[in-house]
Subunit: 410 residues, 2 copies
């Protein structure tokens, strides 16, 4: 008799977690991803900021699962789902049948219908995004060094980050440190420490999802290292010369986007109700309406019992494990249990020795939060080698104020 | 009075060596490169083979020279040279005047007029080349894993390297190790250790520039690890399905080119005699005919007193230092001395514990040659951090048989 066939779409935190949790069950798993690597997204901004190399935060999915014999890995994109026949289409041609389908394809950048903004303000979701951002930052300094027009030089040394969530805060902090520390001695005609970094957020505060004094603390920490924080302002236009915020205008050569994401395309192939961000609305057990054999987990799932969950790694990891529990319950003829999120905490780093964190009702800011942030991210990295390399790299960067991936490519 | 202005074109071994050797002289130096980083080319094949990451063998030119106050660095391409006015044009618009000009722009890939081959058989001179090759190698395995046609699967698992010089030998060895060791456990349907690697060389032996028994020893070492070596065969066609060698044909999805390079474009801007590879013919003091203020060094220079020198790092490094000596002699009103190359040796690695080396009349093959190769390349790496990271990486790879940069991007 053929074994129960599970197809998992996506090798991020959710998909990998589900695959691993199914390790001991008598199922055959096919994990499909458009990329050959799992990406540790919480540190992606450090690749954009030239502090880490792409390989430091990525791990081939095949390596991660090499010793788990009930998994196969396929590099490809899911382009169709046939709920009735229980098949998916890959890259428009190959077809695969499933008994259970787990959708864990995550989110992509989204410019709210202003897709011309994409050219001028790249987002940060993939390694290619991070390398493009790194290229723009480093090129801006190169051009400023040889620019003889004062206004243009100022524009080249102005960096705007749109969106004051964790990624935006972390990017802005990194941008300021690049100029103030890393590049300080590299140029002869400009003063990189005078580069202007402006963080724009439409809500009244940065880190609006954080509680208590943390948003205000994050703002203060940003201001202390020299980031200009502008809240309550909505971007109305982005062009190749800068950003318009209603009546005001910022001339800036480098604009980065961390203000919007939407669910990956694969959700639409379901023909099921999606929320306004394109996420798949799931039942308490994470299945989609009327199809207990199809589940959505991680960022691509809209789970609202009682409130929508944030798009963070912890949610995806816990949902992945719940999928395995569902299949075990099914196999034993027991009813599935509803998914319950255990909130382990929330954190964002502002820069060297600066961060905010909330863990189990406690709130930390500054040095202690930064140490917690470092520790949590190190142990959460996938793969022992990555942990070792990133620790070495961070130690090196901390001591020397260097950033070691300052390559301009392409 | 304005100081003597030296312009150096190229931040490779020759250009950097010249800039550093001019450290204590009362000159202002402008170093121009199309890229922002110095690249340690002898290890580039390890990036192509996913053993090292791009940042491990590259160092921002600005960092290398940050503490040398008489140097400025400019990211750009030299598009014209006016020998009469002593100026150069950068990126087609900016102009810069020099008192001394040092051309050190190196070589680029060359397909002998068969530029359609370029698409099917990428060469290996830049980081982008290396990443493209890495992508093709890893994708071939991904496709083979899911290929149901036996002949096509065989074609996907066939790798051809054209050109049996040091780079070709090193690439072929790395290709074999990727399949035999690194990917051994990663796939379910194919056996990567059965991948076929074929090295093609038109001369009767591989490593034709090496002396004594070394070419034959290299061949034996290649055969021992499973590389098929075909010498005395000239490639007559390359297309998307494989390679034609006169009457015989190899069906191969991945073909790599290390059979031809030519001098960088900048030489033609001189309007001076070039050799058949486009290299600038230089006088015994490395200057170009009738222009003692213009010198060419490294791979771009054709120096034939008595015999043409090989395009290796040592030649470029020594020529760079000679340029500084020339300028010192000029300043003191003394005649320049002719350049003399001190041959420190020659080596190539075939794989784990396998290499050939000739040093000061002695010839080594196998384990000892490999140890020498490791040691020499580690100490020659530019930047202490790179040395540390590469040593760590190599140790890790040696122990685990892993290759840690197996990312497919783009």
């Amino acid at each position: 008799m053929a074994r129960h066939q599970v197809i998992i779409v996506g090798g991020g935190f959710g998909g990998l977690s589900a695959a691993k949790a199914l390790r001991r069950q008598a199922v055959d798993i096919l994990l499909i991803d458009r990329r050959n690597h799992h990406l540790f997204q919480p540190l992606l901004y450090q690749v954009a900021g030239a502090a880490l190399a792409p390989g430091d935060i990525a791990e081939p999915i095949r390596s991660v699962l090499a010793h788990q014999s009930n998994v196969e890995v396929l590099l490809g994109e899911v382009t169709g789902i046939d709920l009735r026949r229980r098949t998916i289409t890959i890259d428009g041609n190959a077809t695969r049948a499933y008994d259970s389908l787990v959708l864990a394809a995550g989110m992509v950048n989204h410019w709210f219908g202003n897709d011309t903004w994409r050219t001028h303000a790249p987002g940060l979701k993939t390694l290619d995004d991070a390398l493009e951002i790194r290229r723009r930052i480093l090129l801006a300094y190169e051009r400023a060094e040889w620019c003889t027009d004062a206004a243009e030089r100022q524009r080249l040394l102005t960096f705007v980050v749109v969106g004051g969530g964790p990624t935006g805060v972390e990017l802005a902090g990194a941008l300021k440190e690049i100029g103030a520390q890393t590049l300080r001695r590299d140029f002869r005609h400009i003063h990189p420490e005078q580069a202007q970094v402006i963080l724009v957020e439409s809500a009244p505060q940065v880190l609006p999802t954080f509680g208590g004094h943390l948003p205000e603390s994050a703002r203060k920490q940003l201001v202390r290292i020299g980031v200009e924080v502008r809240t309550g302002l909505r971007v109305t236009a982005i062009d190749e010369f800068g950003v318009t915020l209603g009546d005001s205008r910022i001339e800036a050569a480098t604009v980065l986007w961390s203000a919007g994401i939407k669910a990956a395309e694969v959700g639409t192939a379901l023909g099921m109700p999606l929320d306004q961000s394109g996420r798949i609305v799931v039942a308490p057990d994470l299945s989609v309406s009327g199809h207990p054999e199809v589940m959505a987990i991680g960022d691509i799932a809209h789970f609202a019992y009682p409130d929508p969950l944030p798009g963070v790694a912890q949610v995806a990891l816990q949902m992945g494990k719940h999928v395995a529990r569902n299949l075990q319950d099914d196999g034993r003829g027991r009813p599935r249990k509803p998914f319950r999120y255990r909130n382990l905490g929330n954190m964002a780093t502002v820069g060297r020795k600066l961060a905010v964190a909330e863990i189990g009702g406690f709130r930390f800011a500054g040095y202690l939060a930064w140490l917690i942030w470092l520790f949590v991210h190190l142990i959460a990295l996938v793969g022992f080698r990555n942990r070792f390399v990133v620790l070495t790299q961070w130690t090196w960067n901390y001591i020397t104020n260097e950033r070691n991936s300052r390559l301009i490519r392409g």
